[in-house]
């Protein structure tokens, strides 16, 4: 590939639209006679609705209807119809299905009115009587009832290898330790919203905040028994999602229900409080028993995870695969059990399982390194894994050593004094900590379409999403690069269910999956162009094959003689050109599965902890990333910076607090649920080490959405230990725990 676009720090092609407000989000689309729905949320955690009285609300002029389980239409069928592409095993929640309340803040009614303000007011007049039942929301109290699910949502935990029990018993150095982190909510800036535009003959155009328009399309078609063609879902811009948009959320269902019943256009936007009423990162408790030799060789690893799920679906994520990816050890045993609570089902949140599993593993390993008396970085080098031991495969590529080297050098790790509490500055104890991490580099099937029109402009499309990650930009770069065009001549379209098939936008696989499809479809256009060029009189390309040419500077050129070529405009301008249209449906190469495919990171952190007051300041972070080919260093850096900032939040601030008397998350707004602010964020250095990988996917990029967060929280926690000599084993590390 000629890299005249790839690897360049191109500005976001949608940047201008975003900063000028031209970019429209789901709740900003309108329609004539638009009506507004407001969700009534359950006040109790579990029980039955005895009665629901909407008469007062309905009396208000301008209130059109109040939908409840009592008057919902009868076409709602079995629970399997509510499954979407990201559903865990189990029985999906069905809004307004019956009078049962399964979790606090469950949507129990939708008030539809002429204005948003009226709907909101009317919602407060809906009177609900409940019969309450006992509920389980206390994770610790229910951990004894943890179970192995019949089916894991993600892969089942890897089978044990070696002889872990014996190896642990005979290890010279051992530790047993436990780490916990709380439930967390995604809290994207944009609230979940759906605007359903009611069209002629009942055709619906749905603007939805989601990470997969085709997932919403299929969900609505199935739940309402509609032909797919009648459901058109559009989502050009997404104001952050972080996984919260992987599943269609209930506002979509309710908006469609209301639109169909009223035969009107309806918009439903959740409140910030209601953003705490669905999926979240599950609380987990992780137990470790680790053994090593006196010289720091890892001899046994046991890692048991206990993670929250709901009573109606078995959500799980890959929490315990990380020892087998990140360390070499001959004796390993892991397990993953679920603790079912009366809450909504957890949901993938940026690096699901990775942010959590790697946090705990990396803190536990830090403890072991101290116990052995080894520098934490040396310890990791000593136990460096050359193979993915979970599946006993080689890595497609792994430049983690280079991450260590460059990261440590930039940070000045070699100047670290080993003992905890050995560095200080006035009231502040200074700590340096590190951690490493990995994230899956997956490619999924994806399709794309390309149209080269007679005016020389290229339009490429796929039904993927851009949740702020830079998909528009990077896909434009890949297409432009493949056909040697300037960025301005290329348009990439996404976020429309009628476009070619896309996987969900998640898992850090968009660049690899959609990008590979974009490249493939542009190659097809290129082949067509070559054919046309060859038909031109006196064509210098007459006898060459596709392998012999390159696309650069708007021309098809001979690879071994770039001075010889044909301009694409000349091909187009010859008689009879009607444009070129190509489609591809791209599958990952089967050979990929012979390899463990991961992006890697090493993160070095400095903290200052006020010895008396416990306040922790993360003064420096160096994050070194091996993420394959970097398509756009600017958007790439933004992803990693965002991951670091979120890691700071995860380490020190984020926690959704369950009140177990009420069975309700209580800090459900952004005043009380803390994410980092500017003042929490200080120096951050991002390094991308060179990593070539032609196995992972055709474009060699590994995806950067998640690798940026995974090692940040443990590096901070380890730095806090180095500063204070105190191990805080449950996140977040708030000042009361550090003082």
């Amino acid at each position: 590939m000629i890299t005249n676009q790839i690897g360049k720090p191109a500005n976001r092609v949608d940047g201008r639209a975003k900063v000028t407000g031209e970019a429209k989000y789901a709740a900003e689309f309108s329609a004539p006679d638009l009506t507004y729905g407001f969700v009534v949320s359950s006040a109790i955690a579990k029980g039955r609705i005895k009665s629901i009285d909407a008469s007062q609300a309905l009396q208000l002029d301008g209130v059109l209807q109040v939908f409840t389980h009592e008057n919902r239409p009868g076409y709602i069928w079995g629970d399997k119809n509510y499954q979407d592409k990201d559903s865990p095993p189990g029985s999906p929640f069905r809004p307004l299905y019956d009078n049962e309340v399964q979790f606090s803040m469950q949507p129990i009614a939708l008030v539809v009115a002429d204005t948003f303000e009226l709907a909101r007011y009317a919602a407060s007049l809906v009177k609900v009587e409940y019969v309450t039942q006992e509920f389980d929301t206390d994770f610790e109290a229910n951990i004894g009832k943890a179970y192995v699910p019949e089916q894991y949502k993600s892969n089942p935990p890897p089978e044990p290898w070696g002889n872990p029990d014996e190896a642990l018993a005979s290890a010279a150095v051992k530790i047993e330790t436990e780490y916990a982190h709380p439930s967390e909510h995604h809290n994207p800036m944009e609230m979940h919203a759906s605007t359903v535009v009611w069209g002629d003959g009942g055709k619906m155009t749905i603007y939805d905040k989601v990470q997969g328009v085709q997932n919403s399309q299929q969900y609505i078609a199935k739940a309402f028994a509609l032909p797919m063609e009648e459901v058109h879902v559009i989502s050009p811009f997404v104001g952050g999602a972080f996984g919260s948009g992987l599943r269609p959320q209930y506002q979509l269902f309710l908006a469609v229900l209301a639109a169909r019943e009223l035969k009107r256009s309806v918009r439903v936007v959740l409140t910030r409080q209601q953003m705490f009423s669905f999926g979240h990162r599950p609380k987990t408790v992780q137990r470790f028993a680790l053994g090593a030799s006196t010289d720091g060789k890892l001899e046994a690893v046991m890692h048991d995870a206990f993670a929250e799920t709901s009573k109606f679906e078995d959500y799980s994520e890959n929490v315990v695969i990380w020892p087998g990816v990140l360390y070499h050890c001959d004796n390993v045993k892991v397990s993953h059990k679920l603790v079912a609570l009366d809450v909504y089902t957890p949901l993938d949140m940026r690096a699901p399982g990775g942010a959590t599993g790697i946090y705990a593993l990396e803190c536990a390993m830090d403890e072991l390194a101290y116990k052995v008396g080894m520098d934490p970085l040396e310890f990791r080098l000593k136990n460096y894994s050359e193979r993915d031991q979970n599946e006993d495969k080689p890595f497609s590529s792994k430049e983690l050593r280079e991450c260590y080297r460059q990261g440590a050098e930039k940070f000045g790790w070699n100047k670290r004094s080993k003992e905890p509490r050995s560095m200080r500055e006035g009231h502040n104890l200074i700590g340096w900590g590190m951690a490493h991490g990995a994230w899956e580099a997956t490619q999924k099937p994806a399709a794309a379409k390309a149209v080269l029109s007679a005016d020389g402009k290229l339009t490429v499309s796929c039904a993927t999403a851009d949740i702020g990650t830079g998909t528009y930009t990077v896909m434009t770069q890949i297409a432009a690069d493949t056909l040697g065009m300037p960025l301005e001549d290329v348009t990439f379209k996404l976020g429309d269910s009628s476009l070619p098939m896309s996987p969900l936008e998640g898992g850090s696989w968009t660049v690899s999956s959609v990008g590979s499809a974009v490249k493939a479809v542009c190659d097809k256009v290129g082949e067509k162009l070559l054919k046309l060029a060859q038909q031109m009189p006196g064509s210098p390309l007459a006898s060459v094959t596709f392998k012999d040419i390159i696309f650069a500077d708007g021309q098809i050129k001979l690879k071994n003689n770039p001075a010889q070529g044909v301009a694409v405009t000349d091909i187009i301008n010859q008689g009879g050109f009607e444009g070129i249209e190509e489609d591809v449906s791209n599958e990952p190469d089967k050979g990929q599965s012979n390899y463990g495919r991961y992006a890697h990171s090493a993160v070095f952190v400095e903290v200052k902890v006020d010895e008396d007051l416990g306040t922790v300041k993360v003064t420096r972070v160096v994050s070194a990333i091996a993420g394959g080919r970097i398509m756009n260093p600017k958007t790439a850096k933004s992803q990693i910076l965002g991951g670091v900032v979120w890691g700071i939040g995860m380490a020190m601030e984020e926690e959704t607090v369950m009140d177990n008397n009420l069975g309700r998350f209580m800090n459900h707004d952004l005043d009380k649920y803390h994410v980092p602010v500017n003042a929490d964020v200080h120096d951050i250095d991002v390094i991308f080490v060179e990593e070539n990988d032609d196995i992972v996917n055709p474009i060699g990029a590994k995806g950067l959405g998640e690798i940026g967060i995974v090692s940040v929280a443990p590096a901070i926690a380890n730095a806090v230990f180095h500063a204070t000599g105190k191990r805080v084993r449950d996140l977040p590390i708030t000042l009361d725990k550090a003082m």
Partner: protein, 331 residues
Amino acid sequence: MRSFNYTRAEDVGNAVSQVAADKGAKFIAGGTNLLDLMKIQVMRPSRLVDITRLALDTIEETDDGGLRLGALVTNSDTAYHEQVEKRYPLLSHAILAGATAQLRNMATDGGNLLQRTRCYYFYDTDTPCNKREPGTGCSAIQGYNRDLAILGTSEHCIATHPSDMAVALAALEATVRVTGPNGERTIPLSEFHRLPGNTPHIDSNLGDDEIITAIDLPAKGFADHYTYIKLRDRASYAFALVSVAAALDMEGDTIKEARIALGGVAHKPWRKPEAEALLNGRQATRENFRKVAEAYIEGAKGYGDNDFKIELAKRAIVRALEQALEMEEKS
């Protein structure tokens, strides 16, 4: 929207008579607290009397050498006012430790004193809360109470008053000037807010039909030795877990007068003059500071999640006094 009347007050007398005539009426100034609470139906006034056009937006010297802050002066204008910065830097620092620049540009000094608690349950109308709905019970005592009070609590409510500004005003011994149907009166800042007792729904001793017209600062501003420490769960844009306003009047190494006020620990800015008096005439040493801190926090009671505040408050007092003494390292 829940409908309400909106009227504009022409002068102070008119403002007072408008609220006196309508029991459900509320003044609206910057609206940064009241409007939020109205949107989530925690407050449901029948009438908003807009006082933003009243001529209460100036800062002027008083006859006794102090400063009078008009009730409608914004928090920003107060914090950056030349006289306030110079003579009452403690107040500037406390104000700037609160909220954000945008909010402080809207928020008024009068409204700041009357902002309502940030207790989680107070904000959620689906939960019991005596302050929001008297008699329903207090969810926080047995529930989540990390942010809540350790001093002066009652079995009915353990909420805190969230203002930073008021903590500095308490240390400076400001007085609040109010006007009601029967004319003017003044209320010392330390008596302005109440403890929850068995009437947690009443935050202050201001009558329903009274308006704050100004806040008077006495002449003594402690500009040489002061500090405001705010400890919170992130570096900015969060309410205090514990805050301390400390001010010292020094004569050599000896303390002539010490003032300490605490925020984030009680239903009002917390003063304990008898503990402060332990420092008068004493040497400014860490041991003496710790003694005062112990005396200051004596009788505090934790409710589980907020137990840590008891020790934290003591350490914060010591640190604040040290900083006030040294006059460096402001946080």
